[in-house]
Symmetry: C2
Subunit: 336 residues, 2 copies
């Protein structure tokens, strides 16, 4: 299923993204910094043949355009915009979290240092807006300005989520509700925007688009919880991240928050100033003892079901509704 979707859209998404990134000014070593995180070159500017990321967000944009009755080609500028924006946030996240690797490669700050990585992120942020504005070639000014508004509001939500995420690292006693509020901004807002902008371009109808926004929001929350499980129990070879990264960095992800609320022993372990390998193993064992993984998986499923209900309410047209369900199902089949 996902292969079918990928085949339909992937090449056009990449082509549009490349067109936009080519608009970046010519300056020595600037383009390699922009293209490396998108997976087009290696750090020495040689072609790189393992694409980073699955381009899920732009695919959601295009599927929602079709499902809302439009021609998916019209939304390609928005599809490129959300994927470029997503990659900008990853670059800044990796600096903020001190993450050494992403998709099995050194992060941008690891290769070029933090100052360049900050600037690379800022440039991709800008290119995302440039991509989005190219909707002018396919859509009415009202739709373009509407998409811009959604994009702006989404970026505010992303920074709110990121702010809370960093704050929670320092805070004791983060509740599950606080956590959900955080990921609503940090992850779900963008997936919600993908669905909403896609449907807006497809239908020109802001009310229809709002149903898709609700679908994307719940899918995003479920997706982040899934990612949290991968961050602890994921297979390094599959995820491209170091195993138990989120434990090493003491990230307050959902399973950890649940574990801390259930296990006094785990609270004590988390009071240690820095984790050794043994601490990491002990923490994971304590999480397993309270079935933190099962708890997270159940919550993930709740939001997944809400997403599917919102999709029903959106009344997607033709085969695209099926495709959206197929994508959602596939997202939650990823190996833990």
């Amino acid at each position: 299923m996902i292969q079918e979707i990928a085949q339909r859209y992937f090449a056009e998404i990449e082509r549009t993204m490349r067109e936009v990134v080519a608009l970046a000014p010519d300056a020595p070593d600037l383009h390699v910094m922009l293209e490396y995180p998108l997976g087009w070159v290696d750090a020495d500017n040689r072609p790189y043949d393992k694409p980073t990321g699955k381009r899920i967000r732009p695919m959601v944009v295009l599927m929602c355009t079709e499902a809302a009755g439009g021609d998916w080609h019209d939304a390609l500028p928005a599809a490129a915009a959300v994927e470029i924006l997503h990659n900008f946030t990853l670059i800044h996240d990796d600096i903020q979290d001190d993450s050494p690797t992403r998709h099995g490669r050194p992060t941008v700050w690891q290769v070029w240092g933090r100052p360049n990585a900050i600037n690379t992120g800022d440039a991709l942020f800008t290119l995302a807006y440039i991509a989005l504005q190219r909707l002018e070639t396919t859509s009415t000014p009202e739709v373009v300005l509407g998409a811009w508004r959604i994009f702006n509001d989404t970026m505010l939500e992303l920074t709110r989520g990121q702010h809370l995420d960093m704050r929670f690292e320092q805070q004791t006693g983060v509740s599950v509700d606080e956590y959900i509020s955080m990921i609503r901004g940090k992850t779900s807002a963008l997936l919600s925007a993908c669905a909403q902008i896609g449907a807006l371009v497809g239908s020109g109808d802001a009310d229809v688009a709002r149903h898709y926004a609700e679908f994307g929001l719940n899918l995003g929350i479920a997706f982040q919880i899934h990612d949290d499980i991968l961050g602890i129990w994921g297979d390094e070879a599959v995820t491209g991240k170091s195993a138990a990264t989120d434990i090493v960095s003491k990230k307050k992800s959902l399973p950890v928050l649940y574990g801390l609320s259930q296990s006094a022993k785990l609270v004590k372990v988390y009071q240690r100033p820095a984790f050794t390998d043994a601490d990491v193993h002990e923490a994971v064992a304590l999480l397993d003892a309270v079935d933190a993984r099962g708890h997270a998986a159940r919550l993930e499923n709740d939001y997944y079901q809400r997403a599917l209900a919102a999709l029903d309410a959106a009344q997607p047209q033709g085969a695209a509704g099926k495709m959206l369900r197929g994508l959602a199902a596939w997202l939650f089949q990823r190996a833990y």
Copy 2:
């Protein structure tokens, strides 16, 4: 003269900026991080009564709106946008340059750490776009989309300039031409955008706006050269920056580049791995010996004259042309 201009616009610029920043989501400590760099609160969220910065860029927007025949109130959203954008760039710059102080206060990263400062910058970047989109309340969709395009292109230029600026720190033998290309992006692009967007809102005419863009571009280059002189010979009490900051950080500013091309002794001094206070004094003395300050001042004046010529070509209307000349003159009277 500048007091007159300031009195006309200042309160409305501040009011519009506050309206926009108030749209940022409610999250603990997020608003203080956003308002501190704008000079509205201190680090403990208490009202702060010494405004940071002179709001020169938004004033240029509004003056150009008037000079191009419009009502300056119509351009207030754009005025707020450029000032918020400018402050975002300062926050990221200060991280990249490791600058401890700005406007006589600790920088955002000094107060809240680099990860929060990156996010604060990203949030202000977003708020700049949100401010700009509020042009919808005063202008046609064509003008709003035109302003957005200028804003996007400007941000690309800013990241190009920042990229080159950081690169030049590591590079030996930066030419004066390379340097001018860098500040064209890093500083002048934004002032050019201020003039261009202001004139676009005022006239609705993209051709008229391009003349103003040329005025702003040359004014910006002159302004940056002026700032470079201040960065070495400025009075700490006046500039709010540490004395000789740009020497301490080995910044390749125009006077230094000129000095390096004229003094083999200075080249040797700059090969030392880190500067002591004595090194800083020696470097300044060597710059004075080749009259690097006079050279920079002459180049500054060249661009200043080009800016005035471009302003003539723009044929500003009414008293606003006079005001623009007055502002330009005032900018270059700042104490070195």
